[in-house]
């Protein structure tokens, strides 16, 4: 069902955890629908220097959380905003069609965290 990359990111998720005093936090999804992702960003000079996440959700939700946080680490805020769920799914070697909606979660959570950062920093 899942590609090897998905299984790797699911079993060995990168960037799990929280950041104390983060520059931006985003949380999307709700428990009723079965998935929630919370992203914590540490940003210096518009560069994402650290990122952590916590996710309640299925294998695809956890794997996309892991992959997408990897993909934005070290990138500028604008680059991170340009990240699409399609790009994340591709980097994971594809997702089953019924699971594509899970990859949207990560994209939205990152966007929400950046928005939070911008708001806090009046950008």
């Amino acid at each position: 069902m899942y590609s090897d990359q998905v299984m790797d990111h699911f079993m060995n998720p990168r960037n799990v955890g929280e950041i104390e005093n983060p520059d931006g936090v985003g949380e999307v999804g709700n428990a009723k629908c079965g998935d929630i992702m919370k992203v914590f960003l540490k940003i210096e000079n518009d560069i994402i220097v650290d990122v952590k996440f916590k996710t309640f959700g299925c294998g695809a939700a956890i794997a996309t959380s892991s992959m997408s946080t990897e993909m934005i680490k070290g990138k500028s805020v604008d680059e991170a905003l340009a990240l699409t769920n399609k790009a994340v799914a591709e980097a994971l070697g594809g997702l089953p069609p019924v699971k594509m909606h899970c990859s949207v979660l990560a994209e939205h959570a990152i966007k929400a965290a950046i928005e939070d950062y911008k708001k806090k920093h009046n950008k």
Binding site: A31, K32, G34, K38, T55, F56, C58, C102
Partner: protein, 395 residues
């Protein structure tokens, strides 16, 4: 993966070697059509008759009341649509429950889209139907009551005899989906006042793709699959002889010592249930504590999602299933878990482990070692867990 522990017997089982052995000649040597005049047909006709007798015996029915189908789903479709359409002049109301298998549930939904009215009776927190609610739901348009013998997800066993008595008293056809019950609970269609009963061989160590519908003599039922004159003109299609032979053998084996089989599974199951409940906090058992299938355990682990749990267990060699929406690609979790009152987020974190003939205590003990760790790991990843436990504050 060194060992693999199969705890998904409610989904499907293997075919027992002695069942397969009885089937084998019917693939390559005894392949005649039982309707044929020639010797190839006569030898399969005998096997067909024997299988029918074996099924009848297991249910305390007459062989003439047994009709072979392609499985539990077809039996359910036939029983429900067949009764509904045959009684259109009499009425258009069907009573069923909120926890039926999709084969019943979606068939009822289909009939609703086509002019029928369906009452889906609620169940209590253990998943139990109240016979008095069945009685109260009956109106003068009611033509069918369909209540499953035992639930496939949470294992709750229903008061079938009581419901059958009410249906009989009111002169309404009574169908029960006994797909999960065969081999685990003694069934007597006469004593239980059952008019129609569905079963499926692959749930009791028979082959897949074959089932039966018991139709009490005199019960009105429209044909569902039209064509040739097989099954006394009521279910068309060349008889699936190897599978029918397997069904016959499997039901004979499955019903020859129900108390012994049930006692063995119940002991294993209770070891599993008490182990999990004592080792993993924020966990509940779904279904009835005692009126449940001997092989069924169903848990909800708060703060985590079922598919992620299944995937991790699979990597550790444990095969289970879940009522999580994410295993099916739909968004809502199991209608059964919602019907017993679980909130969505807890229903999402469910795990069903269903035991079978070959499971051992050692396997259960291994499972009891693995699950707490896996649950812990996923909870640590979950944004709900710390919040709930009042540890890390919402930042």
């Amino acid at each position: 993966m060194e060992q693999r522990i199969y705890l998904d017997h409610a989904a499907t089982t293997y075919t027992k070697p002695e069942v397969l052995e009885e089937m084998l000649p019917y693939f390559t040597r005894k392949y005649g059509n039982p309707s044929s005049v020639h010797s190839f047909g006569r030898e399969t006709r005998k096997a067909l008759d024997l299988a029918r007798e074996r099924v009848a015996k297991a249910l305390n029915a007459d062989p003439g009341e047994i009709f072979f189908t392609a499985g539990g789903t077809e039996s359910d479709n036939w029983a429900i649509k067949g009764t509904a359409l045959a009684n259109q002049k009499k009425g258009n109301h069907i009573i069923t429950t909120a926890i039926e298998h999709h084969a019943v549930f979606h068939t009822c939904n289909y009939l609703e889209r086509n002019g029928f009215e369906v009452t889906y009776l609620p169940v209590d927190k253990y998943g139990m139907v109240d016979p008095e609610q069945v009685r109260n739901a009956i109106n003068d348009k009611t033509v069918l009551i369909s209540v499953m013998t035992a639930n496939n997800e949470i294992g709750t066993i229903q008061p079938i005899k009581e419901i059958g008595a009410i249906a009989k008293e009111k002169g309404i056809a009574f169908h029960t989906d006994a797909v999960q019950a065969i081999g685990s609970i003694p069934i007597d269609v006469k004593e239980m006042n059952i008019d129609l009963l569905s079963l499926s061989a692959h749930k009791f160590y028979g082959p897949k793709g074959v089932g039966a519908l018991y139709i009490r003599k005199g019960v009105k039922l429209q044909q569902f699959i039209h064509g040739g004159a097989q099954e006394r003109n009521r279910r068309a299609g060349t008889e699936n002889l190897p599978a029918i032979v397997g069904l016959g053998k499997a039901i004979e084996l499955a019903t020859q010592d129900i108390p012994g089989h049930s006692a063995r599974l119940t002991a294993l199951r209770d070891r599993l249930i008490s182990g999990i409940l004592s080792k993993v906090e924020y966990t509940r058992l779904n279904g009835h504590p005692t009126m449940r299938l001997p092989g069924n355990a169903n848990f909800s682990f708060e703060f985590i999602e079922g598919e992620a749990l299944l995937l991790t267990l699979d990597i550790q060699g444990i095969a289970g299933s879940s009522g999580s929406a994410c295993t099916s690609g739909s968004l809502d979790p199991s209608h059964v878990l919602l019907a017993i009152g679980l909130p969505h987020e807890i229903a999402h974190g469910s795990l069903r482990l269903t035991l079978g003939d070959q499971n051992t205590e050692e396997e259960i003990d291994y499972v009891l070692e693995v699950i707490p760790k896996v649950v812990q790991r996923l909870r640590e990843m979950s944004p709900l867990f710390n919040q709930q436990k009042g540890g890390q504050k919402h930042v």
